[in-house]
């Protein structure tokens, strides 16, 4: 993105207003003043400007409207200044070509927002191209989702990213942070990786002695995120009690660490991610509706890999190039790759290519793939075989089926136990019973 300071034309006849506004604008760029319409036209002919602020009632009523078209012809981003709220006047200004309308009295933050919009528009194509490049996509519907990020960069409203595991949710959150200001904090909490008892202390922090084991004061993630971004990954797994407390902290921009009587203030941008249908969770009473309305703002959905057929070859080429070894696929292997469901999405594709690049042969066959991909296992799980039931007995068949389902679920969740427990609605005891049986059977076979 451009870092050159913009050239600003300020057209305002009132000396006090002009001086006040100039002092604000000088922080943003190089400012030239024109107290009259005539002087503005002269300056416009002599120099080039990036952005112009024009008083609507310059010298006489609505005289400022007369120079908007000249500014538009020169591709100057024009902002009209006025205390008027008459809709017809606002409409006329926009029709003539102004890009924004700043009501007087203006504040520092309203000027900053104008410049943000101006920069965003100037860089719009660059941002979207960057997103297309990093996601390696020409898929129209995915691009449409990514365009939302451009809008999101102009505001501090929360962002909710949904998509299956491995579609790039964390990747996107980090990219947003990079564009918003990489020097600000980026605090990442994966709600599925942390136990329910620890999540509260991690988020809110604590004072020494707040509980057994609190040997010194610790800042929580909310405090560390101040001025930056708090990224809540797998937000659907956040316990209801924590959702309530976090909701209050976000709304009030303040909270009390555990065991503390001293309030901590923190203002950050919230980005959340989930692979689940939160509305379904709300209906099931597992997610708070008020918390949902707080975390959604700009909603972006990342498509699964199996729906991005046109991007497939580009992604494969990219990961092969990224690795250290060139490999090729025979025709049967190519078919398997294309028809496979990729439950782990882009992450699974990347991992698959990495593993294939370590094999002896540079030519990947169907046999190489069938061992690697979970399709075979999934088929085994989905197929009911009466002969197999008779051979093993129902009890053993069911135990084997449970083990295979657990194995699939763990693989899809990258071995994250809490998420797997939630997905399969299993207790800890049941989980470890099934796991022990699975390990025992695998040892017998070995």
């Amino acid at each position: 993105m451009t870092t050159l300071k913009p050239k600003i034309l300020l057209v305002e006849d009132d000396l006090l207003s002009r001086l006040s506004l100039k002092s604000r604008l000088e922080i943003m760029g190089e400012v030239l003043e024109a107290p009259t319409k005539k002087e503005a036209i002269v300056l416009l002919e002599e120099r080039s400007f990036d952005i112009a602020f024009v008083d609507l009632d310059l010298e006489s009523e609505l005289a400022g409207l007369q120079i908007i078209s000249s500014l538009k012809e020169k591709n100057v981003y024009t902002v009209v200044l006025s205390g008027r709220e008459d809709e017809r006047v606002v409409e006329e200004a926009y029709l003539l070509g102004c890009r924004d309308y700043l009501s007087k009295p203006f504040t520092k933050s309203s000027i900053e927002l104008i410049f943000k919009k101006y920069s965003s528009e100037k860089n719009k194509n660059q941002t979207l191209q960057k997103l297309k490049d990093i996601f390696l996509t020409n898929d129209d519907s995915l691009i449409k989702e990514l365009e939302i990020i451009d809008q999101a960069l102009l505001s501090q409203r929360p962002i909710l990213i949904t998509g299956e595991s491995g579609t790039g949710k964390t990747f996107l959150a980090k990219f947003i942070h990079e564009l918003s200001g990489a020097q600000t904090p980026f605090i990442h909490l994966n709600c599925a990786e942390i136990s329910e008892s620890l999540i509260e202390s991690e988020l809110f922090g604590y004072d020494k002695g707040a509980f057994t084991g609190a040997l010194k004061n610790k800042k929580g993630m909310l405090e560390l995120a101040h001025g930056g971004i708090l990224f809540l990954d797998e937000v659907a797994t956040m316990p209801l009690s924590i959702q309530k407390k976090l909701l209050k902290a976000i709304e009030e921009k303040s909270f009390f660490p555990l065991g503390s009587e001293k309030i901590v203030r923190s203002d950050f941008r919230l980005i959340s991610a989930t692979c689940e249908d939160l509305k379904f969770r709300i209906e099931a009473g597992e997610f708070r509706a008020d918390f949902f309305f707080r975390i959604e703002g700009f909603n972006v959905t990342l498509k699964p890999l199996r729906s991005r057929k046109d991007d497939f070859q580009n992604l494969i080429n990219h990961f092969i190039k990224k690795g250290e070894r060139r490999i090729v696929f025979d025709s049967k292997a190519k078919d398997i790759l294309k028809n496979y469901s990729w439950p782990g999405n882009v992450r699974e594709l990347e991992r698959t290519i990495e593993v294939l690049q370590t094999r002896e042969s540079g030519i990947v066959t169907a046999a190489d793939l069938s061992n690697l991909l979970t399709k075979t296992l999934a088929k085994k799980v989905m197929r009911f075989d009466l002969e197999e039931v008779k051979r093993l007995g129902l009890k053993n068949y069911i135990e084997e089926l449970e083990g295979n389902i657990l194995k699939l679920a763990l693989e899809a969740n990258e071995d994250k136990v809490r998420k797997t427990l939630a997905d399969l609605k299993l207790s800890n005891n049941s989980f470890y019973r099934i796991l022990d049986n699975l390990k025992a059977r695998e040892s017998e076979r070995a």
Binding site: D14, L15, L16, S17, L19, S20, L21, S23, R24, D57, E61, G83, K104, P105, F106, T107, K108
Partner: protein, 67 residues
Amino acid sequence: MHKKNKNNNDQVIHDINASISALMGAVEVIKDEWRSNPDLVDRLLPLTVDKLHQLNAQLETFRNQST
């Protein structure tokens, strides 16, 4: 005549609002800059005082027009 009076009245109201906006903008800048940019504030203050007198005159005009 009535239309002309109404137009004059509208203009005075517009001028009053413009003066108030200018004053609010200037005071906001003074609030933010008085410590770090005293030169700017030295330039703004007399203009702000002048604007206050101007506003006073405009309000006087408005009051006279209303009676």
